[in-house]
Symmetry: C2
Amino acid sequence: MAEELKNAVLEKFGDIVGTAGLVTEAAEIAPNLIEWRGLYHGRTPVIVAPGNTAQTAAVLRICRDQGIGVVPQGGNTGLVGGAIPHSTLQRPEIIMSARRMKAIRELDADNYTITAEAGCVLADLQAAAETADRLFPLSLAAEGSCQLGGNISSNAGGTNVLRYGNTRDLVLGLEVVLPDGRVFEGLRGLRKDNTGYDLKHLFIGAEGTLGFVTAAVCKLFSRPKGLATALVAIADPDAAIALYSQARIALGDQLVAFELMNRLALDLVVRNIPGTRDPFEESHSWYVLLELGSAQAGPVADQLMEIFLADSMESGLVRDGVLAQSSAQRAALWRMRHTISEAQKMAGAGIKHDIAVPVSKIAVFLRRAEEFVSRRIPGVLVVAFGHLGDGNMHFNLNQPANMKADAFLALWSEVGRDVHSIAAELGGSFSAEHGVGTLKRDELVRLRGGVELELMRAVKDALDPAGIMNPGKIFSPS
Amino acid sequence: MAEELKNAVLEKFGDIVGTAGLVTEAAEIAPNLIEWRGLYHGRTPVIVAPGNTAQTAAVLRICRDQGIGVVPQGGNTGLVGGAIPHSTLQRPEIIMSARRMKAIRELDADNYTITAEAGCVLADLQAAAETADRLFPLSLAAEGSCQLGGNISSNAGGTNVLRYGNTRDLVLGLEVVLPDGRVFEGLRGLRKDNTGYDLKHLFIGAEGTLGFVTAAVCKLFSRPKGLATALVAIADPDAAIALYSQARIALGDQLVAFELMNRLALDLVVRNIPGTRDPFEESHSWYVLLELGSAQAGPVADQLMEIFLADSMESGLVRDGVLAQSSAQRAALWRMRHTISEAQKMAGAGIKHDIAVPVSKIAVFLRRAEEFVSRRIPGVLVVAFGHLGDGNMHFNLNQPANMKADAFLALWSEVGRDVHSIAAELGGSFSAEHGVGTLKRDELVRLRGGVELELMRAVKDALDPAGIMNPGKIFSPS
């Protein structure tokens, strides 16, 4: 498909990035044109991988002059089609990859910061921090292949948001190449800097529609030295909310995870994932996995957790509980949580939602949503789990026994809209951590249309008047 | 000066906000036209105080149509002229006050959020949170009169930033009236919401130049139940940085304050503030006030602090230290820190700086800056103190004994520029927490000119094309 771009343009790209940074072979490009869930299939004549910021700027200037679309791509681990070039647009789109810019430029232990390039793989960043006895707390399933630039552009969440925030909260400074090739040099490692508009927040979570992030200064933390991890059984989501409130009071900032899951989620794991087992003798309707991280090594964390659980059992909020007695037991508890998606996949076709509501509204959301889907799809299996402490639920559905996968999946859009509406009525969000991309553009119009979307458009037009950055993502193609 | 606005316009304002919301008497307006440091004296024909969001929108529509400037004003406790209308501009400017919009709309204890209107005084917000056994951690000297809207527009810092972040980090959702009267309804209390650009960050810290904030959803926290507060003597700022790094490792998130001050700061306090005394027998060059907040009541906090201080004395990092044994002693230690500015004022004319650098660069900044000012103003007294954990130093100067106050103060701009340049060379900021306003607009051009300022202008033009919001603040009048 290279013929979509004039050879002269490809040559110009090659002059800038060299042969190491130019991929034009269709077979080599192919893996970058599909997402792992298989929902999107794109096309592009070329992947351009600049070796540094100046090359990035030079490529973007050409694209701006020629009206070529630029699709930033990190580790291609997204879920909403945000990094896949469109196959239907009239103008050509290139993939711009950060993979050759993966240096860790600086680790400042006393400032608790790390400065890294956009192509740095998240796991490498975590490892670099650990080497300096520091913690980079961003952690998610794709950490072995996702890249910092993608994490920033999608404002990635993950399992440590309760304590450390989303990616947005972990970024102190950014270097960004703007759509016209100018470079915003905001790589400052400052905790306080009230000097006009805080421009970095424009680019974080913008899904590559406003510029190409080339590097960032991120916050580091001290490593918790003691961990206590427990799985507890509770009556219902209302009890989970009450337990969460009390856990924050009793454990304060040491509470680092508070994950809710329903009976079916646990059942699917135990049934489908080898080596897992239900740690309780009795069956319960809902479970919470909670974790405490302490700056003190030794038994401090376990003691605190034991006292909290004993109090919670005495008050009747917790019906049963297990506290991990070793790192192997801790890993086993987390494995149950982390393999829910996998177990669900093995049980048939799934419809997935990534909603957020205020924590106080989690129970009413779950009741309303379950009531709705059970009416709409009789026999549907509700696999509800997620980061209760963040108000973020993955309200997932598995196909009923008596329904074909295709017929079930055909309902995704329609059911999704109604589930999103239930969240919206409770002051919630239709995309908690995965973003908008291509998948949820229409929902953005439906649920955040009007002034909110007008403001986003105004920002987009101000920063990318030629509309070359990730066309058709977040906004429908104009 | 009401004649600057046509009576017809004033009547329209009156029709919208009623007599309770309109102030046209010069004597009544006067206190709102000066800042408490006395650096700015403005003028305006009217203060308009809308009673709700709809009234705010209606007033702004008139201002947009008539080309009238709008200066948002909260508690008028700023330090950079950001809330004072100009006296020199050709077009009239009104003050728009949020003081009639001060309701706490909702406190959601389980979601750990509070929704309040812009005119809510910070202390009232803190008190409301406390009533629900929650903590709203924003705390600063002006908390008895500053308002939430001003805190948000200036991204206020204060004494709890180390642990809880700046105001920006405490805001989950905003309601903002745009310059053309449209309302951005973003009052969501969500920890995760990746649905396009995060618009609230445009308005936080924008100093009222992009719209008028009418309400916000803010994060709450659990209240620390145990506090340990210590004042320690150290050799120099390098030792302070090392102590900070070790404190974060040993105490983790429980470290809530880490304040550095030099000998002269302590001396001025002990000399000028009644009831204060140097708690140490020997004289030391530098001091750190550090505080630990624990979720556990009882002696846990003190025990942790004692262990940390013992280790630090054994390693030689800490030369002497006192641990508060009662809340009265704790208050006395904090009083020394909080009265430095007051004590400094009593000692003569002062030149003040509000810089930030990476924490690791604090010592080199202090060396270079002190060397520079001592050369430029022989005999100058350096009063250095600030939030070391935030990299934020108030590098203040008092007049030499042999110099007149006027002659000394005449050097402020020149000396300030050089001190800012020293911070900038170290990757720092010329305004850590006070903002740009009118005072530092030229420094913004000098130190953040080029692409950064161009981007800010592009955002300003996109959101406020008529340029009516707080004209001449952040940006020079065009």
